[in-house]
């Protein structure tokens, strides 16, 4: 079984539209949406949810006001400025935890002399196993302003692999998040190959450089395809030659095409939509990948 991750470094390069087309072309794959922070793949694959699961991870400090003696120890030990000290009109101190700043390190819980701080597990989101018209899909929704996206990504990948193993499917297609931080690292470590979808802009080039440094760091073989290549043909040439020099294999170019947006509006993949030049090019990229 092969696990193929599609990433982009820079957001909005068309990664999900391309992945949805690959899903339509693949035949016998499982899909994993690991862009858990802004998951969009379901808008095209239109999954029917089979099982819904709670994702809890990490903890959050909550001060029990009835037991708190206002000693201020938690305020002193918290390195994330998450403990807020306020004073009432009568001069009485009050300590509370700002849930958005709390990292869940538990240091205040450990050092509170009267054990007045609770440390419940956080519900950080939900994850789903679904059926789509192209095969099974594992996806998730990270709670608003929640942490631990890296752990949720690992979970989605693990479940997708399990389904592939059990169902005898030979490919897991992973939609990865933008950037180079923890959810991206969680998406690529241990995968078999990464396709980076980029665009011919200075920003795209800059971000491709960084994301390829990351794939090198984790020793993942990397393939590059340029979307909207005709926005700047010269830049396309130079991005491609930089990519090859950095060790990537080129999979092809996709032109700017309004039909990509029209397909999205219809809720179908670009290759199913079947109109415009991008559809043919995406097919070409997929066929090239199959020869690798």
């Amino acid at each position: 079984m092969t696990e193929l991750v599609i990433i982009s470094g820079k957001g909005g390069t068309g990664k999900t539209s391309i992945l949805a087309s690959f899903a339509a072309l693949a035949g016998n794959a499982v899909f994993a949406d690991c862009d858990v922070d802004a998951a969009d793949l379901h808008l095209i694959l239109n999954p029917t949810i089979q099982s819904r699961n709670v994702f809890s991870s990490g903890h959050e400090a909550v001060i029990r006001q009835v037991d708190c003696t206002q000693c201020g120890e938690c305020y002193d030990v918290c390195r994330f400025d998450a403990v807020i000290k306020s004073e009432s009109h009568s001069g009485e101190l009050k300590f509370t935890v700002d849930p958005f700043s709390c990292e869940g390190c538990g240091v205040c819980v450990w050092f509170c002399p009267v054990k007045a701080i609770d440390f419940p597990e956080c519900v950080c989101g939900e994850w789903y196993v679904s059926d789509t018209r192209f095969g099974p899909m594992v996806h998730a929704r990270l709670g608003i302003a929640a942490e631990n996206s890296g752990k949720l990504v690992s979970l989605v990948r693990r479940e997708a692999k399990k389904i592939a193993d059990e169902g005898g499917r030979d490919l897991v297609l992973v939609d990865g998040p933008p950037g180079i931080g923890c959810p991206v690292i969680a998406s690529i470590t241990g995968s078999d190959a990464a396709i980076v979808v980029t665009e011919p802009t200075l920003s795209g080039r800059h971000d491709l450089e960084r994301v390829m440094e990351l794939t090198r760091h984790f020793q993942i073989p990397v393939y590059v395809c340029i979307n909207k290549w005709d926005i700047n043909p010269e830049m396309t040439e130079s991005v491609e030659s930089d990519a090859v020099e950095a060790g990537a294999v080129l999979l092809g170019r996709i032109p700017y095409d309004r039909e990509v947006t029209n397909a999205q509006i219809r809720g179908v993949s670009v290759v199913e939509h079947g109109k415009g030049p991008a559809s043919e090019s995406i097919r070409g990229v997929w066929e090239k990948w199959l020869t690798m």
């Binding site: 957001g11 909005g12 538990g106 240091v107 450990w110 302003a145 890296g150 690292i185 920003s203 926005i231």
Partner: protein, 282 residues
Amino acid sequence: MNIAIASGKGGTGKTTVAVALAQTAAGPVQLLDCDVEEPNAHIFVKPEACITHAVNVLIPVVDESICDANGKCSEICQFNAIVSLKTKAMVFPELCHSCGGCLRACPTGAITEEEQQTGIIETGSRDGLEFVMGRLDVGQAMSPPVIRAVKKHTKQDALTLIDCPPGTSCPVIAAVRDCDFVVLVTEPTPFGLHDLILAVETMRELGLPFGVVINRSDAGDRRVEDYCRDEKIHLLAMIPENRKVAEAYSRGESITTAVPELVPLFRSLLEKVFELVGEVRT
């Protein structure tokens, strides 16, 4: 005043809007690039006289001659970043959140802390615009420490514009925290709408005032506009699709230089934001 420019979905034109606002605003202005995983604003600002400094985090170091493997450190650590083995404790720096818990909990005093670089900050300026950017080192997982370090450069007496990372999780929270207003940039597509809704829910949860800019406003459908109307969300500006904008962007040219006709649009966008912030404050 601090104004964050954010978006649920990446690639909607957040950086373009942030740079354009910074270049059209009057008075002392600073632009902070907090998209530290993939910072791009410098490409358009082209800052001069840049100074680079390291952003360090504190990582525990165990003195093996003192450590008696009592295990208190691994007991307190919530992130499995320090593990007490049979004879000594071992640190996994890439998992460490630098909370200082193990240092405090260790009864033998075997743990000290050492600074380790996790990213850099670059400061510079261009035509009166002060520019600060953070860049996470490749291979590092956690961007909030670098984002917080960038935000330390916020000046009280200036207009501070903050280019945020995409998404709705911890890096975004670190970037928008303590801002007076958030400008959410989106595009009129199903993906744009879906990710905008998540961003709106996040801002509501955080209690931050916000408004929406629709970029490439004629390149999709009307659902984003309808959503904003139904939800009574301030629609701050609509920027029409323009091949000249896309081409200038690809060359690293800022939108206000490439398409000066758009300058008034950004001026009035900023005025609307000032008005709304004023309403919130009074």
